[in-house]
Symmetry: C2
Subunit: 436 residues, 2 copies
Amino acid sequence: MKALIIAAGRGSRLKDFTDNEPKPLAQLLGLSLIERVVLTAREAGITEFVIVTGYLSEKIKTKLGNGEKYSVKINYIENKEWKKGNGISVLQGKDLINEKFVLLMTDHIFEADTLKRLLKTKLSDKECILVVDKTPKKHIDLNDATKVKIENNKIVDIGKGIKDYNGIDCGMFLCNQSLFNALKESIKKGDETLSGGIRILSKKGEMRYFDIKENFWIDIDTKKDFREAEKILCKRLTKLTDGPVSRFLNRPISIKISKLLVKTKLTPNSISFFSFALCLLSSYFFSLGSYLYVVIGGLLSQSASIIDGCDGEVARLKFQQTEYGAWFDAVLDRYADALIILGMTYGLWRLHGNAAVWIIGFIALAGSFMNSYTATKYDSIFKKSGKKPKVRLGRDIRLLLIMIGALSNQIFYTLIILGIITNAETIRRLYTLRKT
Amino acid sequence: MKALIIAAGRGSRLKDFTDNEPKPLAQLLGLSLIERVVLTAREAGITEFVIVTGYLSEKIKTKLGNGEKYSVKINYIENKEWKKGNGISVLQGKDLINEKFVLLMTDHIFEADTLKRLLKTKLSDKECILVVDKTPKKHIDLNDATKVKIENNKIVDIGKGIKDYNGIDCGMFLCNQSLFNALKESIKKGDETLSGGIRILSKKGEMRYFDIKENFWIDIDTKKDFREAEKILCKRLTKLTDGPVSRFLNRPISIKISKLLVKTKLTPNSISFFSFALCLLSSYFFSLGSYLYVVIGGLLSQSASIIDGCDGEVARLKFQQTEYGAWFDAVLDRYADALIILGMTYGLWRLHGNAAVWIIGFIALAGSFMNSYTATKYDSIFKKSGKKPKVRLGRDIRLLLIMIGALSNQIFYTLIILGIITNAETIRRLYTLRKT
């Protein structure tokens, strides 16, 4: 299925920016609005796009090209009359689209999940569907929103000014060719807006609605909307599987860093590697043994733990997630864990010269590895069951322990504690899962 | 769907055994024939069984009970006239089965995959299907086999004595109620065999065939057949993913041991644990450091490597495979690996007192863990692609290396080699998979 994206208007409420740039190229967390819409749709499975440009058309075409760099196909239509209503822009799509299609707005940010669900909805030949928010969150500006009135699954009225409404237009549609005919009719009558066309379909009883439910969406028109969207997109980076250390300490910091990193060209894999390099350095400082160096080692390992969250965050914010990236990160993390424990053990041995230190280091290393080795299985089973395991001894906790141990100059006991808790946790997992 | 299993006859060609025991209880690799048929069918998804007993009926009922211990439901019908043709036994099923059903013989061993494929075959209301082997392997006794003549997907003739045939009856059927009517007709005419009923369906054009293709099956009537079945079932234990050490050294020995183990009540998990205990012992001997002990350590670790194959083999032979079992084994193996490397390192350090030994041990341990950690991903990708990776540095190779190092009293170099090849292999995997 193709997606028709409307990117013709100027965005007068972002005047400072749009004097020289088209609104679709305004940046939101490392991606322009139009890139974000294209990539979200790609995540939902759409690979062919028709983009209607207007204001500063060439700049958009130069930026996106034929879509190759996003692994999609993009065609453009220019709407010379972009100053008129957006219904005229939509109507331009008529010649390039002759089947069912998705209609999206450049300035409406949404979740791929919403589009996935929408694409699964059955659509008869004479129907169009509009995605509607029946319980809009507080970030939606109701004064400016297009409202709809729903009765028995159908949209019966639409408009910014209607008083009797029970839902908000989310700017996403699943459409048939009938939309183009309705737009022609509406334009002929003097209403050049998309809402005008929708209103004509509503009157005929051919406009269904689709409930967005709890999924996130936002219409971006003002600077405040940008800040709001940033805030929400970042908040969504916290994972359900995040343990307390990650949730309350690492994630808040790593998200702040990721907000800066998305603006650079750094890839998630290079961030993973940087975090690994910090661990290598940490290992070196630990191996020197004396307190000052150990403190540096501890601070470095905790920094690495924080940065270790950024690769995934940047990947998610910029749609750069890959299976290989996740795996690459995991493999580097295991080597980093090994290096840090080796550094701690060696540093301790330099001070004390006692072989018991090495045995304790071995046990801590084995336990740390076993934590990672068993986690996949453990997490996948609890994921399937929908439950969240109460405790999850993860890397975030181990590295925080190491920093605390370093700051308090208790590397020996830190290794002992690590050895005990990691191996105990592994045995606990073996035991817990025995009935599965 | 229910399965009707015929277990009424005496099996006169196994006279020594069947003087006191019914043939269905004859043991094949730790399971009686009837258990093997029930469990193979369960693997294919069948959970309800009707078993027709006859000769020494009570012994079979006592053995299998209501099926609870196999997590299936078993009902019995006794055929007092079991000395007559087997068609009469099949006909007994009429009262307990009133839908499509699978018909199986106790003495026909087959692969779950064959039954799975058969169950997916569509069957019209007036048809029965017989599984047929068009290219019988050399273990099939053609003199004694029931032959069939196939024409255009239909069976047109059946019998032990027919001269013009192009397939062998594998003793597995997918049936409708029409089979019972055909049997009645055949018995009335004086032919009490199942083949008699099938012949009547054939004449009516209501008997289709199903090609068993390359899948294994065997009709077990003589002691020679038992030996043949044992040989083939054991040969099938070798896995596609087995590396050369496993294939040519460990597997041939472990299969011999498993043949004995299946006759005991040892569970696969207890075998996994025994292999782990051998590694613990191996680690202890390695840690003593002097040559004689190191040799014992090396022999023990290689023995553990061999026994480590038995848990899976016994599980597969006795239908005791579980996801948890595979995971339990994997976790114990990782600890065993860690213990052996720790033992080797400690033993070496006792002799030389050089801290470099510990660093080398750490590197070998990390590499060994990383081999296991990355293998899942690596193997799964190559499994998906259907290709077999050319080299697979697995545990079998590591433990063989350790034994060779122990016998040649070169633990130091063994650790260095382990450290190099395991980490090199991990980096190779990281590199190979980067484009996936």
